[in-house]
Amino acid sequence: MAMAVLAAVLAYAPLAQSAPDVFRVEPGMTSVEFGVSHLGISRQRGTFDQTWGRIELDGSRSTGRIDFVVDAASVNTGWSVRDAFIRGEDMFDVEQHPVMRFRSTRLDFDAGVLRRIDGDLTLHGITREVTSAVMRLDCGVDPATGRAGCGAEATGTIRRSDYGMSYALPLIGDEIDLRFLVTAFAVPLRGETDTY
Protein backbone atom coordinates (compact mmCIF):
# COMPACT_ATOMS: atom_id res chain seq x y z
CA MET A 1 0.00 0.00 0.00
CA ALA A 2 2.39 2.66 1.22
CA MET A 3 5.23 0.89 -0.57
CA ALA A 4 5.01 2.97 -3.73
CA VAL A 5 5.26 6.18 -1.73
CA LEU A 6 8.17 4.77 0.19
CA ALA A 7 10.10 3.64 -2.83
CA ALA A 8 9.98 7.22 -4.03
CA VAL A 9 10.78 9.02 -0.80
CA LEU A 10 13.54 6.67 0.25
CA ALA A 11 15.49 6.49 -2.98
CA TYR A 12 18.82 7.92 -1.93
CA ALA A 13 21.97 8.38 -3.91
CA PRO A 14 24.74 6.72 -1.88
CA LEU A 15 26.91 9.22 -0.06
CA ALA A 16 30.29 9.60 -1.69
CA GLN A 17 32.22 11.18 1.20
CA SER A 18 33.46 9.20 4.21
CA ALA A 19 32.52 5.64 4.91
CA PRO A 20 29.76 5.62 7.51
CA ASP A 21 28.17 2.39 8.62
CA VAL A 22 24.94 2.10 6.71
CA PHE A 23 22.01 0.20 8.15
CA ARG A 24 18.63 -0.63 6.79
CA VAL A 25 15.76 -0.74 9.26
CA GLU A 26 14.29 -4.21 9.32
CA PRO A 27 10.55 -4.03 8.67
CA GLY A 28 8.68 -6.43 10.89
CA MET A 29 11.39 -6.31 13.57
CA THR A 30 10.97 -2.64 14.38
CA SER A 31 8.11 -0.97 16.19
CA VAL A 32 7.15 2.41 17.53
CA GLU A 33 5.39 2.29 20.86
CA PHE A 34 3.18 5.14 22.02
CA GLY A 35 1.48 5.91 25.29
CA VAL A 36 -1.37 8.29 25.94
CA SER A 37 -3.47 9.15 28.96
CA HIS A 38 -7.02 7.77 28.90
CA LEU A 39 -9.51 9.72 31.05
CA GLY A 40 -6.62 10.61 33.34
CA ILE A 41 -6.92 7.11 34.79
CA SER A 42 -4.47 5.00 32.83
CA ARG A 43 -1.83 5.35 30.17
CA GLN A 44 -2.90 3.28 27.18
CA ARG A 45 -0.22 1.88 24.91
CA GLY A 46 0.06 0.53 21.42
CA THR A 47 2.51 0.20 18.58
CA PHE A 48 2.98 0.92 14.93
CA ASP A 49 4.45 -2.28 13.53
CA GLN A 50 5.35 -1.52 9.93
CA THR A 51 8.39 0.67 9.40
CA TRP A 52 11.15 1.36 6.92
CA GLY A 53 14.27 3.39 7.16
CA ARG A 54 17.91 4.00 6.61
CA ILE A 55 20.53 4.88 9.19
CA GLU A 56 24.05 6.12 8.56
CA LEU A 57 26.39 6.38 11.51
CA ASP A 58 30.03 7.40 11.64
CA GLY A 59 31.02 7.26 15.29
CA SER A 60 34.59 8.34 14.59
CA ARG A 61 33.39 11.59 13.06
CA SER A 62 30.28 11.88 15.25
CA THR A 63 28.10 12.25 12.20
CA GLY A 64 25.27 10.40 10.59
CA ARG A 65 21.73 10.69 9.46
CA ILE A 66 18.49 8.86 9.89
CA ASP A 67 15.44 8.60 7.70
CA PHE A 68 12.62 6.62 9.19
CA VAL A 69 9.14 6.00 7.86
CA VAL A 70 6.16 4.47 9.66
CA ASP A 71 3.02 3.10 8.04
CA ALA A 72 0.30 4.99 9.91
CA ALA A 73 -2.22 2.23 9.20
CA SER A 74 -0.08 -0.35 11.01
CA VAL A 75 -1.31 0.80 14.41
CA ASN A 76 -1.84 -2.07 16.80
CA THR A 77 -3.35 -1.51 20.24
CA GLY A 78 -4.76 -4.97 20.80
CA TRP A 79 -8.32 -3.71 20.25
CA SER A 80 -9.46 -3.54 16.63
CA VAL A 81 -12.22 -0.98 17.30
CA ARG A 82 -9.66 1.42 18.70
CA ASP A 83 -7.22 0.72 15.86
CA ALA A 84 -9.91 1.68 13.34
CA PHE A 85 -10.63 4.86 15.31
CA ILE A 86 -6.93 5.81 15.33
CA ARG A 87 -6.68 5.25 11.57
CA GLY A 88 -9.78 7.30 10.93
CA GLU A 89 -10.36 10.96 10.11
CA ASP A 90 -10.50 12.13 13.72
CA MET A 91 -6.97 10.95 14.37
CA PHE A 92 -4.32 9.91 11.82
CA ASP A 93 -6.57 10.04 8.74
CA VAL A 94 -4.42 7.42 7.07
CA GLU A 95 -6.21 7.74 3.75
CA GLN A 96 -4.86 11.27 3.45
CA HIS A 97 -1.65 10.75 5.42
CA PRO A 98 -0.51 7.15 4.99
CA VAL A 99 2.96 7.55 6.46
CA MET A 100 4.75 9.33 9.27
CA ARG A 101 8.32 10.27 8.54
CA PHE A 102 11.26 11.30 10.69
CA ARG A 103 14.39 12.86 9.21
CA SER A 104 17.31 13.67 11.47
CA THR A 105 18.84 17.11 11.43
CA ARG A 106 21.48 16.60 14.12
CA LEU A 107 22.97 13.58 15.88
CA ASP A 108 24.82 13.93 19.18
CA PHE A 109 27.48 11.41 20.13
CA ASP A 110 29.26 10.81 23.41
CA ALA A 111 32.65 9.13 22.93
CA GLY A 112 31.49 7.78 19.59
CA VAL A 113 28.18 6.47 20.93
CA LEU A 114 24.93 7.92 19.60
CA ARG A 115 23.07 9.62 22.47
CA ARG A 116 20.58 12.08 21.05
CA ILE A 117 18.75 12.56 17.77
CA ASP A 118 17.13 15.81 16.69
CA GLY A 119 15.03 15.92 13.59
CA ASP A 120 11.81 16.75 11.81
CA LEU A 121 8.78 14.59 12.35
CA THR A 122 6.05 14.76 9.72
CA LEU A 123 2.79 13.44 11.03
CA HIS A 124 -0.73 14.07 9.79
CA GLY A 125 0.77 16.33 7.13
CA ILE A 126 2.44 18.64 9.66
CA THR A 127 6.18 18.82 10.28
CA ARG A 128 7.65 19.74 13.67
CA GLU A 129 11.07 19.54 15.25
CA VAL A 130 11.42 16.77 17.78
CA THR A 131 14.22 15.38 19.89
CA SER A 132 14.83 11.84 20.97
CA ALA A 133 17.15 10.34 23.57
CA VAL A 134 18.94 7.10 22.69
CA MET A 135 18.50 4.87 25.71
CA ARG A 136 20.23 1.79 24.37
CA LEU A 137 22.24 0.77 21.33
CA ASP A 138 23.51 -2.82 21.09
CA CYS A 139 24.99 -4.53 18.09
CA GLY A 140 25.72 -8.11 17.15
CA VAL A 141 25.52 -10.69 14.41
CA ASP A 142 22.55 -12.78 13.37
CA PRO A 143 24.06 -16.29 13.50
CA ALA A 144 21.58 -17.58 10.94
CA THR A 145 22.46 -15.08 8.24
CA GLY A 146 25.84 -13.72 9.31
CA ARG A 147 24.43 -10.22 9.03
CA ALA A 148 25.68 -7.55 11.41
CA GLY A 149 22.92 -5.60 13.02
CA CYS A 150 22.03 -3.27 15.84
CA GLY A 151 19.08 -2.77 18.12
CA ALA A 152 18.30 0.63 19.52
CA GLU A 153 15.76 2.09 21.87
CA ALA A 154 15.05 5.80 21.62
CA THR A 155 12.41 7.80 23.43
CA GLY A 156 10.71 11.13 22.95
CA THR A 157 7.54 13.06 23.64
CA ILE A 158 5.23 14.98 21.34
CA ARG A 159 1.89 16.75 21.67
CA ARG A 160 -0.69 15.49 19.22
CA SER A 161 -2.34 18.90 19.12
CA ASP A 162 0.88 20.23 17.53
CA TYR A 163 0.09 17.95 14.60
CA GLY A 164 -3.53 18.90 14.23
CA MET A 165 -4.87 15.90 16.09
CA SER A 166 -6.98 17.47 18.82
CA TYR A 167 -9.98 15.14 18.85
CA ALA A 168 -11.26 14.21 22.32
CA LEU A 169 -8.82 16.39 24.21
CA PRO A 170 -8.34 16.11 27.14
CA LEU A 171 -10.20 12.84 27.72
CA ILE A 172 -7.56 11.29 25.52
CA GLY A 173 -4.36 13.06 26.51
CA ASP A 174 -2.36 15.49 24.43
CA GLU A 175 1.08 14.32 25.46
CA ILE A 176 2.20 11.21 23.60
CA ASP A 177 5.26 9.36 24.78
CA LEU A 178 7.08 7.57 22.00
CA ARG A 179 9.47 4.66 22.22
CA PHE A 180 11.27 3.58 19.08
CA LEU A 181 12.43 -0.04 19.16
CA VAL A 182 14.56 -0.19 16.06
CA THR A 183 16.36 -3.20 14.62
CA ALA A 184 18.57 -2.46 11.64
CA PHE A 185 21.02 -4.57 9.68
CA ALA A 186 24.16 -3.41 7.96
CA VAL A 187 23.78 -2.89 4.25
CA PRO A 188 25.92 -5.70 2.72
CA LEU A 189 28.62 -3.67 1.00
CA ARG A 190 29.44 -0.07 1.61
CA GLY A 191 28.71 2.08 -1.40
CA GLU A 192 26.59 -0.62 -2.98
CA THR A 193 23.27 0.72 -4.08
CA ASP A 194 20.72 -0.52 -1.62
CA THR A 195 17.08 -0.39 -2.48
CA TYR A 196 14.30 -1.00 -0.10
Binding site: E26, G28, M29, S31, E33, G35, H38, L39, G40, I41, S42, R43, Q44, R45, G46, T47, D49, N76, T77, G78, W79, V81, R82, F85, D138, C139, G140, D142, P143, G149, C150, G151, E153, A168, L171, L181, T183
Partner: protein, 200 residues
Amino acid sequence: MILSSRRVVAMAALACAVVATNAVAAQEVYVLDPSHTIPMFEVTHLGFSQQRGSFSNVSGRITIDRAARKGTMDVVVATASINPGTPRLLATLKGEDFFNVEKFPTMTYKSADLEFDGEQLVTVKGELTLLGVTHPVALKVTAFKCGAHPFNKRMMCGGEASTTIKRSEFGMKYGIPAAASDEIRIVIPFEGMREPGNAG
Protein backbone atom coordinates in the same frame (compact mmCIF):
# COMPACT_ATOMS: atom_id res chain seq x y z
CA MET B 1 -15.95 7.64 23.22
CA ILE B 2 -15.66 4.15 21.95
CA LEU B 3 -18.01 1.60 23.37
CA SER B 4 -17.11 -2.04 23.32
CA SER B 5 -19.80 -4.64 23.02
CA ARG B 6 -17.23 -7.07 24.40
CA ARG B 7 -16.94 -4.93 27.48
CA VAL B 8 -20.69 -4.77 27.94
CA VAL B 9 -21.01 -8.53 27.66
CA ALA B 10 -18.14 -9.10 30.06
CA MET B 11 -19.59 -6.69 32.57
CA ALA B 12 -23.02 -8.21 32.39
CA ALA B 13 -21.60 -11.67 32.97
CA LEU B 14 -19.37 -10.55 35.79
CA ALA B 15 -22.06 -8.43 37.40
CA CYS B 16 -24.12 -11.59 37.85
CA ALA B 17 -21.12 -13.39 39.29
CA VAL B 18 -20.36 -10.60 41.71
CA VAL B 19 -23.89 -10.39 43.07
CA ALA B 20 -23.66 -14.06 43.94
CA THR B 21 -20.54 -13.65 46.06
CA ASN B 22 -20.70 -12.71 49.70
CA ALA B 23 -19.32 -9.22 49.42
CA VAL B 24 -17.61 -7.77 52.44
CA ALA B 25 -19.05 -4.37 53.24
CA ALA B 26 -15.83 -2.40 52.85
CA GLN B 27 -14.68 -4.21 49.76
CA GLU B 28 -14.70 -2.48 46.41
CA VAL B 29 -14.82 -4.71 43.35
CA TYR B 30 -13.35 -3.54 40.06
CA VAL B 31 -13.89 -5.54 36.88
CA LEU B 32 -11.01 -5.23 34.46
CA ASP B 33 -11.99 -3.51 31.23
CA PRO B 34 -10.61 -5.83 28.54
CA SER B 35 -10.44 -2.99 26.02
CA HIS B 36 -8.13 -0.98 28.25
CA THR B 37 -6.22 -3.81 29.91
CA ILE B 38 -3.71 -5.04 27.36
CA PRO B 39 -0.75 -7.04 28.69
CA MET B 40 2.32 -6.38 26.61
CA PHE B 41 5.52 -8.36 26.54
CA GLU B 42 8.98 -7.60 25.33
CA VAL B 43 11.73 -10.04 24.51
CA THR B 44 15.26 -9.71 23.15
CA HIS B 45 15.95 -11.43 19.83
CA LEU B 46 19.55 -12.14 18.71
CA GLY B 47 20.81 -10.49 21.87
CA PHE B 48 20.22 -6.97 20.54
CA SER B 49 16.78 -6.71 18.97
CA GLN B 50 13.79 -5.86 21.16
CA GLN B 51 10.54 -7.44 20.02
CA ARG B 52 7.12 -6.62 21.38
CA GLY B 53 3.74 -8.22 21.48
CA SER B 54 0.54 -8.23 23.47
CA PHE B 55 -2.49 -10.26 24.47
CA SER B 56 -5.85 -8.85 23.50
CA ASN B 57 -8.25 -11.05 25.46
CA VAL B 58 -8.02 -10.50 29.18
CA SER B 59 -10.59 -10.75 31.94
CA GLY B 60 -10.36 -10.36 35.65
CA ARG B 61 -11.10 -8.35 38.72
CA ILE B 62 -9.46 -6.47 41.52
CA THR B 63 -10.92 -6.11 44.98
CA ILE B 64 -9.78 -3.36 47.28
CA ASP B 65 -10.44 -2.86 50.96
CA ARG B 66 -9.18 0.67 51.39
CA ALA B 67 -9.59 0.79 55.18
CA ALA B 68 -7.55 -2.34 55.69
CA ARG B 69 -5.26 -1.57 52.73
CA LYS B 70 -5.75 -5.06 51.42
CA GLY B 71 -7.00 -6.56 48.24
CA THR B 72 -6.99 -9.30 45.65
CA MET B 73 -6.36 -9.61 41.94
CA ASP B 74 -7.47 -12.35 39.60
CA VAL B 75 -6.63 -12.23 35.91
CA VAL B 76 -7.18 -14.70 33.09
CA VAL B 77 -5.44 -14.24 29.74
CA ALA B 78 -6.53 -16.22 26.68
CA THR B 79 -3.19 -17.39 25.28
CA ALA B 80 -4.59 -17.68 21.75
CA SER B 81 -5.16 -13.92 21.79
CA ILE B 82 -1.44 -13.35 21.45
CA ASN B 83 -0.76 -10.47 19.12
CA PRO B 84 2.85 -10.36 17.94
CA GLY B 85 4.06 -7.25 16.22
CA THR B 86 4.79 -9.30 13.14
CA PRO B 87 2.12 -11.73 11.89
CA ARG B 88 4.67 -14.27 10.66
CA LEU B 89 5.40 -15.22 14.29
CA LEU B 90 1.78 -15.92 15.19
CA ALA B 91 1.72 -19.65 14.46
CA THR B 92 5.09 -20.21 16.11
CA LEU B 93 4.09 -18.41 19.29
CA LYS B 94 0.80 -20.30 19.51
CA GLY B 95 2.56 -23.59 18.89
CA GLU B 96 4.05 -26.23 21.16
CA ASP B 97 7.45 -24.56 21.48
CA PHE B 98 5.95 -21.48 23.06
CA PHE B 99 2.43 -20.96 24.43
CA ASN B 100 1.00 -24.29 23.28
CA VAL B 101 -2.44 -22.71 23.21
CA GLU B 102 -4.37 -25.87 22.39
CA LYS B 103 -3.21 -27.59 25.55
CA PHE B 104 -2.99 -24.43 27.69
CA PRO B 105 -5.68 -22.02 26.50
CA THR B 106 -5.28 -19.67 29.46
CA MET B 107 -2.66 -18.29 31.75
CA THR B 108 -3.78 -16.99 35.09
CA TYR B 109 -2.55 -14.63 37.74
CA LYS B 110 -3.91 -14.76 41.28
CA SER B 111 -3.02 -12.58 44.21
CA ALA B 112 -4.42 -12.06 47.68
CA ASP B 113 -1.59 -9.74 48.62
CA LEU B 114 -1.95 -6.17 47.40
CA GLU B 115 0.39 -3.66 48.99
CA PHE B 116 -0.51 0.01 49.33
CA ASP B 117 1.53 3.09 50.03
CA GLY B 118 -1.15 5.34 51.44
CA GLU B 119 -3.94 5.25 48.86
CA GLN B 120 -1.61 4.05 46.13
CA LEU B 121 -1.51 0.44 45.05
CA VAL B 122 2.21 -0.16 44.59
CA THR B 123 2.85 -3.91 44.57
CA VAL B 124 0.91 -7.06 43.82
CA LYS B 125 2.37 -10.32 45.05
CA GLY B 126 0.80 -13.33 43.42
CA GLU B 127 1.23 -16.47 41.42
CA LEU B 128 1.37 -16.81 37.66
CA THR B 129 0.30 -20.07 36.06
CA LEU B 130 1.66 -20.47 32.54
CA LEU B 131 1.90 -23.75 30.62
CA GLY B 132 0.43 -25.39 33.71
CA VAL B 133 3.38 -24.30 35.86
CA THR B 134 2.86 -21.96 38.79
CA HIS B 135 5.47 -19.59 40.19
CA PRO B 136 5.32 -16.50 42.40
CA VAL B 137 5.45 -13.27 40.41
CA ALA B 138 5.39 -9.78 41.92
CA LEU B 139 3.98 -6.89 39.89
CA LYS B 140 5.15 -3.35 40.45
CA VAL B 141 2.28 -0.91 40.01
CA THR B 142 2.88 2.69 38.97
CA ALA B 143 0.52 5.60 38.39
CA PHE B 144 -2.38 3.95 40.21
CA LYS B 145 -5.32 6.29 40.11
CA CYS B 146 -9.04 6.17 40.75
CA GLY B 147 -11.75 8.57 39.66
CA ALA B 148 -15.23 8.85 38.23
CA HIS B 149 -15.77 7.96 34.58
CA PRO B 150 -16.70 11.24 32.85
CA PHE B 151 -19.82 9.83 31.21
CA ASN B 152 -21.31 7.10 33.35
CA LYS B 153 -19.87 8.55 36.58
CA ARG B 154 -18.93 5.13 37.87
CA MET B 155 -15.76 4.89 39.90
CA MET B 156 -12.86 3.41 38.00
CA CYS B 157 -9.23 2.74 38.76
CA GLY B 158 -6.25 2.26 36.51
CA GLY B 159 -2.51 2.12 36.38
CA GLU B 160 0.37 0.23 34.93
CA ALA B 161 1.71 -3.06 36.28
CA SER B 162 5.10 -4.38 35.26
CA THR B 163 7.48 -7.21 35.97
CA THR B 164 10.13 -9.39 34.40
CA ILE B 165 9.85 -13.17 34.36
CA LYS B 166 12.06 -15.97 33.13
CA ARG B 167 10.13 -18.10 30.67
CA SER B 168 12.36 -21.10 31.34
CA GLU B 169 10.91 -21.32 34.84
CA PHE B 170 7.57 -22.12 33.24
CA GLY B 171 9.05 -24.71 30.91
CA MET B 172 9.11 -22.43 27.87
CA LYS B 173 12.71 -23.10 26.93
CA TYR B 174 12.77 -23.09 23.15
CA GLY B 175 15.32 -20.86 21.45
CA ILE B 176 17.02 -19.37 24.52
CA PRO B 177 18.85 -17.05 24.09
CA ALA B 178 19.18 -16.37 20.34
CA ALA B 179 15.61 -16.69 19.08
CA ALA B 180 14.19 -15.09 22.20
CA SER B 181 15.72 -14.26 25.56
CA ASP B 182 14.81 -16.07 28.74
CA GLU B 183 13.85 -12.77 30.37
CA ILE B 184 10.47 -11.44 29.33
CA ARG B 185 9.57 -7.91 30.27
CA ILE B 186 5.86 -7.51 30.92
CA VAL B 187 3.96 -4.22 31.06
CA ILE B 188 0.22 -4.16 31.68
CA PRO B 189 -1.75 -0.94 31.36
CA PHE B 190 -5.02 -1.65 33.16
CA GLU B 191 -8.39 -0.15 33.97
CA GLY B 192 -11.14 -1.53 36.13
CA MET B 193 -14.70 -0.29 36.49
CA ARG B 194 -16.29 -0.51 39.90
CA GLU B 195 -19.17 -2.91 40.27
CA PRO B 196 -22.26 -1.05 41.47
CA GLY B 197 -23.67 -4.20 43.06
CA ASN B 198 -21.68 -4.03 46.28
CA ALA B 199 -21.85 -0.78 48.18
CA GLY B 200 -18.55 0.09 49.79
